[in-house]
């Protein structure tokens, strides 16, 4: 049998910018950003759904671009800026949240963090806000409760 070492040879000290604050994180360099946020920085609003980038629950913005934090290692962040659902200074995100509230767009709410980050990027890219464009933008995000139509309508309003 092969001898397996689980010693983390790559422990390192990282400085990353999250929600406009520079923070220090001491961890394995391959640690996905998701677990850095949830375990090391106590930013638990970003959700674990699958770990393989197939459900969208862990979506955050990196320099404004939506990415899956579950399969993005911390070494790849560099000096880019990370924004999570907790960030209060992004006016588009705040507008998305307020329209989601007025549409009562959600049930269990577990998928919403990732969806709102994607929606923020979609609106900021000045892409079309018709129903099918929003639906296409959200196609990598899974919602099991069936709140899809409310979510689409909230995003349309937030961008209009």
């Amino acid at each position: 049998m092969t001898h397996l070492s689980t010693t983390l040879d790559y422990m390192a000290d990282f400085q990353i910018r999250v929600n406009n604050k520079v923070v220090d994180v001491d961890c394995d360099k391959n640690t996905p950003l998701l677990w850095v946020l949830r375990n090391h920085l106590n930013l638990t609003g970003t959700r674990f759904g699958c770990g393989t980038g197939l459900c969208g629950a862990c979506t955050v913005l990196i320099d404004g671009t939506p990415i899956h934090s579950c399969d993005t290692p911390i070494w790849a962040i560099g000096n880019k800026s990370v924004q999570t659902v907790e960030y209060e200074e992004n006016s588009t995100l705040q507008r998305v949240k307020s329209c989601m509230a007025s549409e009562q767009a959600g049930q269990c709410g577990f998928c919403l963090s990732g969806i709102m980050m994607r929606a923020t990027a979609h609106i900021d890219s000045l892409a079309s806000l018709d129903r099918s464009s929003i639906a296409d933008a959200l196609d990598g995000h899974l919602c099991r409760c069936g709140a899809h139509n409310r979510i689409i309508e909230a995003i349309r309003q937030a961008g209009s």
Partner: protein, 670 residues
């Protein structure tokens, strides 16, 4: 009047309402939130009946020893069970207080006084809060990302654990060769108990990484080949079963001229968040934080599994992602208890992987229905026979003769999980749920055959047997209508005297423009049921376009839930149920190979995507003087049938086996 069931063991006002915070009202329900909006509806009921402001009410977190024991939050019964109890407790309190303040009474006599089932309830015409679409009390925190879902608990000294499961059902651990592995500083321990393996670490990435490595070195005693996709239908037909006649009247003919059979595969709950729990052994006490739907039954089953006094166990509910029935929530709680035992005093959080969530949680059972009927010369159905087969719909904690948490079947001193039973008939049954049609047939025989072998663990999935039973009944009705040249809507109405059923059917036809011309390849289909034959009435019309695959473009829904507590909440639940049913009906199928579930990721178990979502229009028929009924499950069966009926209208192919994939459609072309 008798007290509602929920109040029999919790008869005092103080069991339900807490006036200990001046000016505020604590609501002590035994029902729990998992996204359905129940806590908002219950708050409306209490605020209305007590005559206090909505904003002055708060929910007391459900926990053993504090909350009334309301068993499981299931079956669309929370408004009926907890809602009735809270309404009576509140009405009694209002009458008792008279001109005095609730909070003064709390300080003097206290509220340990019996609730009066005959207390005068507020007249519905005087309601100012019930009937309004109050905003959900849980949504704002969820949008801010500050809701503490169960996965987000971070008590001091927390450790994280991940579980390594066997490669398939029946395999047992032969050797783990732990001595050959150098553990990193982040790893606290590898717990091995029989074939139950857990990795405990300071962070989740370290725990998961080691589980992945252990999966490569663990050696298992593998069992002979288990179930496969291809053996499912044979299993459903040939497995031994317990027979129960659910209804029999009139003439019972052995041979009826019209026959058809319908099926559905195993279905996964497929929550977006994986199940999680935290446990802590604190001296004699065991503390558990869980997303379970039934904290008291879970406590009893964990006590039984550990052979300890249940009074040593304290369980607090914390919201998880939507569960849609009995998923792995209770399993995760027992996992956490087993692991935390090795770290006295320290809390341990167990989160399942996506692969285990889709591969090991209980499934909604695969089912088969055989229907037969006779139609007379006038086109009226005279004889009806319905036979439904499948595994039971409940392996919930404390409902079987031995513990039913997954890890109990893997630990050294555990045992295999017994075959699923069904909820009792007064709660709506399971396999036979909605097997009895609401239509007025003169001769009827309805038989349930619950299988007594269970190769794949099954349990409650939203609507239980009603998904396939309604799909079958409503599909068969369309087939009979077509064979006798009758309009499907008229055909239903001629066999249905129930006035509220007729109303939802008529309303949905009006919403959809039933009967209008549609382009080639498009069609409309209808589906109807009264949930459990004593819950909400719901009729659905689906419009589909069939090209390479089935695309549902519209759903129209008419629903009658009696008194409406929160119209927007009802709409959200009814539409959510319809879209989930659409996903099951068109796309979903658990894949099984040699006793292992291989559809354990989102590529192999695809669910509905945003681009596939139809426009949905829902109309609620309000009945303010009628009892309030649950809305969570009423649209499931009717939506499934409406889609299959629409496909038949669009392309003249009757698909009787779900899901309605291209493969199953092609196999149905006659």
């Amino acid at each position: 009047m008798a007290l509602p069931d929920s109040m029999v063991a919790a008869p005092l006002i103080s069991d339900w309402l807490d006036f200990s915070h001046p000016g505020m009202v604590g609501i002590k329900t035994g029902k729990v939130e998992f996204g359905q909006g129940i806590l908002t509806a219950l708050t409306q009921i209490v605020a209305e009946e007590l005559g206090v402001e909505f904003e002055k009410c708060f929910l007391v977190t459900a926990s053993t020893g504090i909350s009334p024991n309301e068993s499981f939050t299931a079956g669309s019964l929370s408004v009926q069970d907890s809602g009735s109890a809270l309404r009576i407790a509140s009405a009694t309190a209002r009458a008792y207080a008279g001109t005095h303040s609730y909070w003064d009474i709390e300080k003097t006599a206290g509220w340990a006084i019996p609730a009066n089932p005959d207390a005068v309830l507020k007249n519905p015409s005087d309601y100012s809060l019930v009937g309004l679409s109050a905003n959900r009390i849980d949504l704002d925190a969820k949008l801010k990302g500050i809701t503490h879902f169960i996965q987000d608990l971070r008590p001091d000294d927390l450790l994280y654990a991940r579980i390594l499961r066997p490669p398939n059902r029946g395999s047992t651990l032969f050797d783990l060769s732990l001595e050959k592995i150098t553990l990193s500083q982040e790893i606290e321990k590898v717990v091995v108990d029989g074939s139950f393996i857990a990795v405990v670490a300071k962070d989740e990435y370290s725990a998961q990484s080691l589980v992945t490595k252990l999966a490569q070195v663990a050696i298992w005693n593998e069992t002979p080949a288990g179930m496969n996709n291809s053996s499912l239908m044979n299993f459903l037909e040939s497995a031994p079963a317990e027979f129960k006649v659910l209804e029999e009247f009139g003439e019972n003919k052995t041979e009826l001229p019209h026959k058809a059979s319908y099926s559905r595969p195993y279905l996964s709950h497929a929550s977006i968040g994986t199940v999680t729990a935290v446990a802590q052994w604190a001296g004699e006490k065991i503390n558990i934080w869980t997303q379970s739907q039934g904290i008291y039954p879970l406590r009893a089953d964990i006590a039984r599994a550990l052979s300890i006094d249940p009074q040593r166990i304290f369980i607090t509910h914390v919201e998880g992602a939507g569960c849609y029935g009995h998923n792995g929530a209770d399993d995760a709680a027992f996992d956490a208890v087993l692991v935390a035992k090795h770290f006295p005093g320290r809390p341990v959080l167990v989160t399942w992987s996506r692969e285990d969530e889709l591969g090991w949680a209980p499934y909604g059972p695969a089912m088969k229905v055989h229907l037969a009927a006779q139609v007379d010369d006038s086109g009226e159905i005279t004889h009806w026979s319905h036979r439904v087969r499948g595994n039971g719909h409940s392996t919930r904690p404390s409902t079987l003769a031995s513990p039913s948490m997954l890890a109990y079947s893997h630990i050294e001193n555990g045992s295999a999980i017994l075959p699923a039973g069904d909820p009792p008939l007064p709660r709506g049954g399971g396999t036979g749920r909605n097997a009895i049609p609401l239509y007025d047939f003169k001769n009827s025989l309805i038989v349930e055959e619950r299988l007594s072998e269970m190769p794949i663990r099954t349990s409650a999935l939203r609507a239980l047997g009603a998904h396939l039973n309604v799909f079958a009944i409503e599909s068969f009705l369309d087939e009979l209508a077509l064979r006798t040249n009758q309009d499907p809507l008229e055909f239903r109405l001629r066999h249905l005297s129930d006035p509220r059923g007729r109303d939802v059917l008529t309303k949905v036809a009006e919403l959809s423009g039933w009967g209008k011309e549609l382009p080639e390849g498009s069609g409309q289909g209808i589906g109807f049921a009264r949930y459990k034959n004593k819950g909400a009435w719901c009729a659905v019309i689906a419009q589909v376009d069939v090209e390479e695959a089935v695309r549902v473009s519209h759903l129209w829904i008419a629903v009658d839930v009696g008194l409406v507590i929160n119209p927007d909440g009802v709409r959200n639940q009814i539409e959510g149920g319809a879209l989930q049913s659409l996903s099951w009906t068109l796309k979903e199928q658990v894949q099984i190979n040699d006793g292992a579930v291989t559809s354990n990721n989102w590529e192999d178990y695809p669910i509905l995507r945003f681009s596939e979502v139809p426009l949905v229009q829902t109309e609620i028929i309000s009945r303010p003087t009628m009892p309030a009924l649950g809305a969570g499950e009423a649209s499931i069966g009717p939506t499934a049938a409406a889609i299959a009926n629409a496909v038949d209208r669009a392309i003249n192919v009757r698909v009787r086996n779900m899901p309605l994939t291209v493969t199953n459609i092609m196999a149905s072309v006659e």
